[in-house]
Structure formats: structure tokens, C-alpha cells
Symmetry: D2
Subunit: 393 residues, 4 copies
């Protein structure tokens, strides 16, 4: 299985390992460490991402990007155990993952040396690309998950599966239905009836999911995500097909499915706008947009990401409450929300009601508007009328 | 019909008109001008909004906000015809519409005087809110569309219908299914099979919609929107339920349906990320976010909105091509996209391909990462290791 | 003395006080509370402003804006002592101060009622403006500091003096030399020789000023500011003459002198760029610019200002060290800086040295540049050459 | 003279030239092209920079950064004449200039190959840094301007001179007075009396400088800058001493003198705030800050810089008028300003006057404040009182 994305060499202190690796004829006694970091991934990366509301270029929920720092921490722990000085990985020279793995590695172990066969001149001469490598693997009876029959590349973890390359490289080719693994076809395989869930948040972090159908409540992050993945997946929720901008300057096409994450993101977004002061929300979103770029680009461990995250966490102190989500075939949406009992709430039903004037002097609004109009009118005085379209077309 | 939201008094030069209006016992000979501004609304407000990618607080497509400057232009044209000096409107003192109508009016006719009964002290004493007014209308046999039986307020135009107030004021009450007028229930009334459309854009503006099912092509903005509204509505597309931040400082709950606009927004967004350089896109989105606030707050005619719009239009010069949209019950999504033949395209299939190294030196990426790591490592040197979560939970 | 800017009525519960006040013939037994809040002003408002690097429209150090929330806190404390329900102030209806005082008051005591004679219809009818009021005062033997002989208005506190109105209203009239009170004429009255100071900061806050000339060290905030005001004033440092944008939509011309604040601002700015990571600095400056607008506009006590301030304080945790400032007639500048011994420092003399390659692989830079060039070259491929000026003019 | 910073090889098509170059023992018949691009530098780079208000990290006027794209255009023109395929330059591997030259070159001639000896492994082994190279030059009788006696490096052009490296690498060492070449010591060598100039701008670009002392008016960009450099230099204006953040991730200390540019920047800034609508100014400054980073980092020719520049130029259409500048020993400042007669002006003396109420209803301000207070009070209602410092310290 070469799909795992990285190799760690514990017993070597020489970059020559790279050369032998390139030909897969290594005689190094390989010690394989397989660490289960799912819980840390959910609690330390996915939960904060939901809390921060991270989304890249307005659609991608960063399923792969978030996994990279988590894997890197586990790698460095393994490196520590083995006394390793080198990190080898199979990320290509055109992608984001090389940046994410290596920046994380440099952050965690600044003196580490990186071995990246896909950027090695000799390796690249031998293998023009993924197809050559698949062919090589077949010739040498090495089992790999990317087969010519499924001519795309996948990256899967508990948050999402991404699909790219191969036939997907033409952005005008529709992705085949057979591609999706985490979600069913919403139109033919999903339940006919919608279902409602209540998701609770404290300080922006999901704390429980109430499933009325089964009368069950999930409170552990990993359980919550697994439940939402299973249920969201059964409704075909969370598929997107996009072209995105990579950090290395290319545009690439990706298809993603993120069932549980999509539900959590939508619920959190609803509660956040409900709970936060308008201007605090504006500032938080500026920080969020920056943080999404940091994470996508591989800077999870960086001065700027540490800083942005702490600032966003400050804002999220007010985001406590619950959201009712409706899941339907192919989509979900927030349909009701409520503040946590024990905290205050900016939403003021009495104040906003059109049935009473209570607590508010309507006459003030006229002055508010008049003063706001000062600049608008001054512009006319100074520079003449605004350009106005002809209303009678 | 009081629902129209505004009155214009042509033959009066005295604000006392307000007092008589308050009691609806006016004997002023009313001249009613009903202007059909749908085409201008689509071409001069909705199309630019799609081009700019306007969305308020990440979900609301500004259906009401965009109509206000359009109506105001028609009002001022009517005012010019009648020699009117006053503008009276029925917007309440707690809402956004008063701001939008009045700022637009001040921009277009800086010396206009505003009469706003809902901010009039005497009027407010008599009518505590919408319910009192409905009761008054019933007592006096005045027909109004807002009835106790449908206890919410609506604002409808060719882009959307909004629902708020009444039973919707409790943000934790789910909106009843019977509320929606522009979209059917996606789960019970929509077609079972999805449908695909191709939407073409030039410089960010929709130029045609190809409907394969009917082999028809729509090329006039108004026709395009009407077709998308009808088709999107039949699939139940474009419903949202949100709490939003009003400009006057309140939070309010709104339910919106925007079938055609939702399809156009999604198609444009897909093409834009596909077509624009990453950093141009970042700057454009900053301007877009500002513009969305300007439009929501009523500043369509303002120095800042004129400026932001021109800047965004500059970016959109590159956004030409077509997007294939899939419509399914309750949602739509982009599934393929292509640049217009006659313009260049930043997406570079050859460059991004994982099957060739062509046009790119993979070795460079190592240096790119190493230099990006300088700050990350310097932070460790200066201040010690990054805080790292325990991976073995 | 009417110049103080506010009156507080402790023993009245009726807004009719306003009317009698308008005529200055009040028989209300006035209790005058004069609170010395200089120390709080320095420690709780000026020091944080220096720490945050606040500057409005790139030049104004917010001397008046910062005083308003400080005064308001003292006012509310007096109001509490007296059981007052009303706040009356003499700020005009065109200025920023009315907004700042009243927003602060509403924040601190949301049920307070405001009495603003300059916005009172009857008062405004009687007094067209400041000149009428000065004339009235003269007729009634009321001593005021604004005299026809010094035909401008001043606002003075321990941070700055501002001058505006009167002859300054023509922005093309040069302010007379006789205007300045806090600073001497740098060209004729300042010492000929420059002087050097060392200013120490901890977490962005000034902690001490070393004066080598007198071998004295100042460590209390109030003392430090008084010393810097005296010394900076003797060098004529900190004069600016600007037109600024008021929150109420007007542009106004102001002349300001801020001797000590100018020195502190310049020293802090130098240390901050020295100490902070580049990207953290970028984010911090976005927050700083927002905060400067909040403070100028009167929102010191607001959700957004509380939030921005906490975020900026997080960044400032790294800003510890000392800066050597040179004071010369009319200006000052940073000429040397050093990190505090006990904290780390991002500046890396070894790394940046042109005399060694140490700790850095120059070859990496080539890859860094090549990858950064990807987007730049793709733009040419897609859209043709960049427009290039003719170099041989 | 090796100081020029670049070599261009016209007659070679082999990168081996690099090796011979490394030893300076080349036998390639060198053809030297010295192009005078001062006029283009002023008109096509400096003037736009003044128009855009570019400043890096709030102090550095980008004197070196702006020169790089200008030189690159001339280089590419020479390359075209010679049919050159390689660009060699002497910029080091730690600096910004390598990035600026190479990104510009890639933009202008995407297929160009770069030869950078300071990043060549063999070259770097032979020369550890600048001192080694100076020693080498001395041994081989090659004249270089950087001498051990002036142990720093300079970059000079018509906009500025920068000094860095050598003894300046310790940021706590004060730069010696003998360092400055473009400005005299303001305290001992400048005229005692201040002088006033009037600088005119059209659409943000300087169009003339009126010198009252000599009754001369300068109208050609190059003449204007030369005059301001001479006069500003004679007053010792425009010296800064900073630590800045390089694009490659290092912090470096630089001392700069920019006499004419400092005067132009200050004059433009004054006029811009005077002329622009407040909110347009806010957006323009966001774009300006981005553009300053682009230019500093070497992205003058890039999609994002082309875009930002066009947007800023749109805003500058309103920035026409004149500013009176006072030059004094060591500093300059704006003291008066006026709009161009033929364009409108947002500054409204009548409106802002404290001596009349004209054109403005003061009562409106109360409503403006009250509505702005809604969020501030709601915060208290929901979450309790703001934290308030004790005023009686």
C-alpha cells in the first residue's frame, strides 16, 4: 500500500535511502508504525476548524488540509521514537500536500531533512507521472489502490474523501456517479423522508448531537462525527465539484464529499450569525478567511495561524446554543436555533417585533438615516448626480 | 393594498399630509402611478449583483435590498413627473427598508423631504404595530395581504420572496411548509429526476441559459430569470432560514426563497474561482464583502458603492465561459465548467496533470517550501516549540 | 468656564432643565464635581492606544477621542453618586464628541437620558453658532476661554491639544504660529542639539523612559508622559495640520500637537515591526485600523472594540524591548532597537548577514521564486504580455 | 564596477557561463549596454507609487523595490536586442532583489533562464559572503564601491539611497552620520529658515511644484523630483532607520534616505484624505496596503498588481488640487491644501462651520447616536456591563 502518503525511515541517517526507494528495491529493514490518530484528528483539528468556520474559497471544507498537520504530529512522534533524521513522502511536486507535510515537519522538528522522490531528478526521469508509477507497481506486483479502472486519485479520512486527477483533470467532464464512496446517490438511494437533528455548541465547539429518530444523543466528538458521516452519507449530503487555487500557483479540479462536516459547518454558521454582534462577526470573518488560507497552504503550525486561531476563539466564547438541522436527500439546512439557557443572547424578540414599539424610539431612525445621508448628498453636491439607469426599459 | 411599501404625494407641499395619512382619512385626490420596472430590476440591479457575487452574511442573496434602489429610481421619476416634494413610505422604524428607501431618495433628490408614518409620534401612539394596523384595516374595510391567518409579513419581487415577523419572530420555531410561495416542497412536489442546464457568462454577467430538456436557449435577462425561477421553483431550490444582522442594530429572523438567483449565484461563483487568478480573487472578495454590506445597508447610491462596483467589474472582465448546473429537488450544484473559446484561460490541464511533469520543475517546489519555512522555524528558534496536541488519545 | 464640555445634573429629574440651561439663568443649586482622572486617562486609555498603535487616517493620534470614554466613566461615577438620570453636554450637533460622549454614556448606563442643547430646536434658534454663544457670554459676564481674539476652538488634555473652527475652517489658510500651546516653535525656540532617549516596552506597553542627559529614569506612566510632553514640547515635536473625516459625514480641518504621544507612537511602531512576525503584523494592523476607527467614532465601549483590543493585546505579548529615540527640533525618530533580554527575538543577525551563508540554503531561493512565478507566467500564457512602459523616453 | 547588480549575457546560450563568471575569469567578449531609464523610472514607477500612496510597513517608500521592475524592462529590451536567453544577476540568496528581478524577468520573458551566482553551490563554497568577494576583488584589482572602510552596502537611484549590512546588521547600533549621501545633517548643515512649496496634483499624480523662493515652477516629472531631491536633501529630509520584514522570511535592518519622495508622499497623503470620501478612502487604503506588499515582494508585473493599480487609479480620479508644504531641517509637513478649481470638492466649509447651523439639522444627530447605540446597549442587556477601569486612581 503506497497510498498512505508518507514513509518514515527510522534506521537510516543517509539520504541515499532516497535513491534506493526510488526503485522500490530497498533492502532496508522496514519498520512500519501505523498510528490511529482519528481521535486527535477530530478533537484537535476538525473541531477547531468547525469552531472557526473554516472554508476555502467559499466551498471546500479543508478535509485534506486539516489532516496534514495531524499526520505530521504523529510522524514526528514516530521519528522521535526511531531517532529518525529524514522524512520521505510520496506527495507530488505540483500539489499542496508536499507543502503541508513539509511545513508542518519543519515547524515541529526544524532540523529534519526531507526526501521527496517526486521532486528527485532521477526519479522524475524514470516516472513521468502517476500512470508510470501504477504501471511500475503492476509490473512488480505491488498492490496500489489507484487503478487504471478508477482513473483518479483519492485521499480519504474521517472527515472527507477527495477525488482528483485522471479523467477529472478536464474540468468540463462531469464526474461519474460511481466515484463517490462516502455518500450515496441522493436521488435514488437516500431515504425519501427528511430527518431532523439538534446540534449543540459550546463556545463554537460541537458538544452533542440529538437524533430524535433513534432517541440517541452523541456527545463524544469522534462518535458525533461518525454518526453524522453515516447519516449524512445515507442522504448523499456534502458533495461538491470545484476548481480551486493551489498554493503552488496552479488551478486544480477536485470533487469532495464531506457528509458530517457539511452538516456541522452549516449548523455552526447559523448559530454564529445568530449569536455574535454584527461587527464582531465582520472582524471574525476577516480572521477566518485568513486562517482558511493558512490551513489550506500548510501553515497550521505558524505564527500567523496560532495568532488567528486564538483571536477567533475569543469571538467564539459567545457562540453557545443549539441548532435544528433538517437533512434531506442531497442537502441540509438550519431551520431553527436557540441560545444556551445559561448565557445571554443578542437576539431580542421583543425589540425586533413589528407588533410593539417597545424599547426603541422609532423617531431616532430618521436622524440615523439623515446623518448617514450626509456623505451621500455631499457627493452629489461636489460631483453631480449619481448615474441612474433608465427605469422604463 | 397597503403592502406596496410606499406612497408618493404629488400634489401636496405640506408635511401635514402626514397627519391625515396617519388616520387614513385623507381626502387628497390620489393619483396612482404603477410603473413596471421588472426589466430594469433584472438588468441594472440583479445582473450586477450576480456579476459581483453579492451575498450578505454568507447566505442572503439580497432580494429585498436590491429592489429598493430600483423602486427609488422609479419613485423619483414619478416625483419628477408630479413635481412632488415629499416621499411617504410605510416602512417601519425598526427595519432596513426605511434606510434603503430614504438613502436612495436622498442620493437621487437630495432636497426631498421624507414622511414616515411609522416613525411619527402620533401615529405610533395609535398603532403599536402591524397587528393594530391590520385590525384597523379590517374595521375600515381596507384590503391588505397580511392577514392574521398568515401571520407573517412578506416582500415579493421577481428575485425572491421574504417572510418575517409574526410567528417567525421566535427563531426556534420552524417555519411552516405552507409559507413558501415561489418554490414547491422539494421532497413531495418536485420532479424525481434531476435536470442539467448550461449557463453562459460574459464578463461575469449571465448571457444565456441552455435548457437541454426543451432544447430552448434563453438570452434576455428577464426571460432567463423567469425561466430559472420557474424551473428552480419547481425543484424547490433556494430556500433559506436565517437570523441576520440589520443595519439599525437589531437581529431579525427571515425566511427567503430565491430559486433563479440561487442557481445563477452558484454558477457564477463556480466560474469565477475557475477563471480568476487566486490573488485577484482574494482582493475581489474583499471588495465583494464590502459591497454586500453597502447594498444591504441601503448605500447602493453612494461614493463607496459606485467605487467598489467599478473595481469588481474590472476583475470580472476575465469571467467568461459556461457552467453546467445540476438541479435536483431542494438544491443545485455546478458539475462542469469551461472557458469561453475566445478568451484565454488560467486553468491549465497540461500543467496540473499528475501524469506528466511538463512545463514545471518539481525540484523548485522544495526551495519554495524551504523559504516559506524560514519564518516558521525562526518562530521556534526565538520562542520555542509550537504547542502540539497529543496524537495518542 | 463653559469650555469643560459637559454638565451633569444630579438633583433634577426633568428635561426642562435644558430650557433653563439654554438661557444660563438656571436657579438649580449646582453641585460641581471636578474629578482628576489624569492617571486613569494615561494608564487605561493612552497606554493601551500606544500598545495598539492607534492612529486615525494615518496621522491623528486620537488625543480627543481617547479622552471621551475616560471622562464618561468619571461622569457616570458622579452620576451614580448623585443619583442623576440626565447627562447634559455642550458638544455641537456637527461634531464627533456628541457621539463619543453619548455612546459611552449609553454603554455605561443604558437607561440614561441625554440633554444636548446644541441639538435643541429652541436653543439652536437662539444661537446660530459658537460666535453667538461667545457674544452671549460676554453680554452676561460669563468667562469663556474661546475669545474672538483667538478665533478657534481648543480641546486640551494631557495627551494633546487640538485646534479647529474659526479661521482654521478654511483648509488653505496656514495656522498662525501663535496658536500652539504645548509645543514651542521648533526652528526658533528649541534646543540646537538633538537628544537621545531610550524607551522600554513590555508587551507593547511603555514601562520606562531613560533620559541620559539628566541620568533619570521615569517608570510611572503619568510621569513618563509628563516628561515626554515637556521634553518633546521643548523641541516642538508632534504638530500636525490635517483635514479629517468625521463620523457624522463631514470633513473638518484640525491642527493638533501631541508631543509625548508622538514620541511614544514612533518608538512603539519601531519595536513592533522589529519584534512581530511579518504575517502576525499584517493581521494586527488590520485589527488596529479597525480599532482606530472604533475609537475615533466613539465606540470605545462596544462589542467590536472590546474584541479588537483583546486580539491586539495577544499580538503585543511579543513586543518587549527598548528603542533609542533621537529628538530633534520638530521631529523625532527611532535610531536603534533591541529585544528584551528575557524574551526571544525574531531578528536574527546571523541569518540575515551578507557575510555568511549560515543557517540558510541560498539555492532554495531559486525554487521559491520559480514557484511564485507560476501564476505570473500563467497570466501571460492565458492573456498575453503585461503592458510595459517604454524604457527609452 | 560590480555594484550595478546585474549582468546580461547576449552571446552565450550556455549556463556554463555561470561557472566562468563565478571566477571572474570570463573570456566572453562582454558587450556593455548602459541604458538611461531615469525618465521612465520617474514617470512609470515613482509617479504611480506616489499616486497610489505606496509605503511598506508604514515607513519605507519602496525606493529599491520600485527600481527593480524598471531595470528589468530595460534588461529585457537589451536581451531582445542581443537575442539573450540568460539573465545573470549579483543579488544574494537572502535578499528581496533576487525575487524582484527574477519575477519581473519571468513576467516579461517567461522562457528566460536565470543565472544567480550567489545561489550557485560552487560559488557559495568559494565566497562565504560580501567580505570574501570584496577581498577577491581587491586581490584582482577589480574596483568596487563597497569598501571595508564603508562597511555597508548601498543601493542608490534617483528616488533614494538605501544602506544595509555590515555594521548596520546590529539593529541596536546607531548608523554613523557619515553614512548619508543624499541628505545633509539637518541640524548642522541645513538652512536655518523653513521654506514653503506648493505641489499640484491631478488625479493623484504630481503635476507641478511651485518654488516661491526662486519664483520657479517645475512641471516635468524628472525635473520635479530632481528639484525636490536637491531641496529636500539640503534640509536633511527623508531619513529613516528601520527593521523590515523581507519576503524571504528574514528581518533586516535598513537605513534609507528619500528626500524628494518623502515630500511628495506627505503632500499626496494630505490631499487624498482631503479629497476622497471617507469610505472610498478606507477601501483604497486596503488596496494600497496590498499593492505595497506586492511591490516590495517583487510582484509589480503580476495579475494582482495590475488589478490593484487600476482600482486605485479609479479612486484617484478625485484627487486633484494643491498642497502647501513646509520644509524645515529634518522634516516636512502639509500646512494648507485646496481643491483644483475645475473639480468639485467634498470639503464643505459652510457645512462644517461651528458658526452656523446651515444645511444640517442638528437634531438628526441624536437619532444617529441612538441607533448606533442599539448594539452597544444590547450587548449590556445580553452579557452584562462593560469592564470599566477605576477612574479614581
Amino acid at each position: 500500500m503506497v497510498e498512505c502518503g508518507w514513509w518514515l525511515f527510522g534506521n537510516t541517517s543517509s539520504p541515499n535511502a532516497c535513491n534506493s526507494l526510488s526503485g522500490f528495491t530497498t533492502t532496508i529493514p522496514l519498520e512500519v508504525i501505523v498510528a490511529d490518530v482519528k481521535q486527535s484528528f477530530v478533537e484537535d483539528y476538525i473541531w477547531p476548524a468547525i469552531q472557526m468556520g473554516l472554508v476555502y474559497e467559499e466551498r471546500y471544507l479543508l478535509g485534506t488540509s486539516l489532516a496534514r498537520p495531524c499526520i505530521s504530529v504523529a510522524l514526528m512522534e514516530a521519528a522521535r521514537q526511531c531517532g529518525a533524521k529524514y522524512l520521505a513522502h510520496g506527495a507530488t511536486g505540483k500539489g499542496n500536500d508536499q507543502v503541508r507535510f513539509e511545513l508542518s515537519a519543519y515547524a515541529l522538528k526544524p532540523d529534519l531533512k526531507i526526501i521527496a522522490p517526486w521532486r528527485d531528478v532521477e526519479f522524475c526521469r524514470q516516472f513521468q507521472g502517476r500512470q508510470d508509477l501504477i504501471a511500475y507497481a503492476q509490473r512488480h506486483d505491488i498492490e496500489v489502490s489507484a487503478k487504471p479502472a478508477t482513473p483518479w486519485s483519492t485521499d480519504a479520512n474521517i472527515l472527507h474523501i477527495s477525488y482528483e486527477s485522471g479523467i477529472l483533470e478536464d474540468p468540463n467532464t462531469v464526474a461519474p456517479d460511481s466515484l463517490y464512496e462516502m455518500t450515496v446517490d441522493p436521488l435514488t438511494k437516500a431515504p425519501q423522508d427528511p430527518v431532523r437533528l439538534v446540534i449543540h455548541f459550546e463556545r463554537g465547539l460541537p458538544t452533542s448531537v440529538e437524533d430524535f429518530a433513534s432517541s440517541r444523543v452523541y456527545t463524544k466528538p469522534l462518535e458525533m462525527l461518525e454518526f453524522l458521516n453515516q447519516l449524512g452519507g445515507s442522504y448523499g449530503i456534502g458533495r461538491i465539484d470545484i476548481v480551486e487555487n493551489r498554493y503552488v500557483g496552479l488551478k486544480s479540479r477536485g470533487v469532495y464529499e464531506t457528509p458530517g462536516g457539511t452538516i456541522l459547518y452549516a449548523a455552526h454558521q447559523d448559530l454564529e450569525v445568530f449569536a455574535l454582534d454584527r461587527e464582531v462577526l465582520r472582524t471574525k470573518q476577516v480572521l477566518r478567511n485568513r486562517m482558511a488560507d493558512y490551513v489550506y497552504n500548510g501553515f497550521w503550525f505558524s505564527p500567523e495561524a496560532v495568532y488567528a486561531r486564538r483571536c477567533i476563539e475569543l469571538a467564539e466564547q459567545r457562540v453557545s446554543g443549539k441548532v435544528t438541522m433538517e437533512l434531506a436527500p442531497g442537502y441540509c439546512r438550519a431551520i431553527a436555533r436557540k441560545s444556551a439557557e445559561e448565557v445571554g443572547a443578542l437576539y431580542n424578540e421583543q425589540l425586533v417585533s413589528m407588533d410593539v414599539h417597545g424599547g426603541y424610539v422609532p423617531q431616532d431612525a430618521g436622524g440615523f438615516i439623515a446623518i448617514n445621508a450626509v456623505r451621500i448628498r455631499e457627493h452629489v453636491r461636489a460631483f453631480g448626480p449619481y448615474e441612474v439607469p433608465n427605469p422604463d426599459k
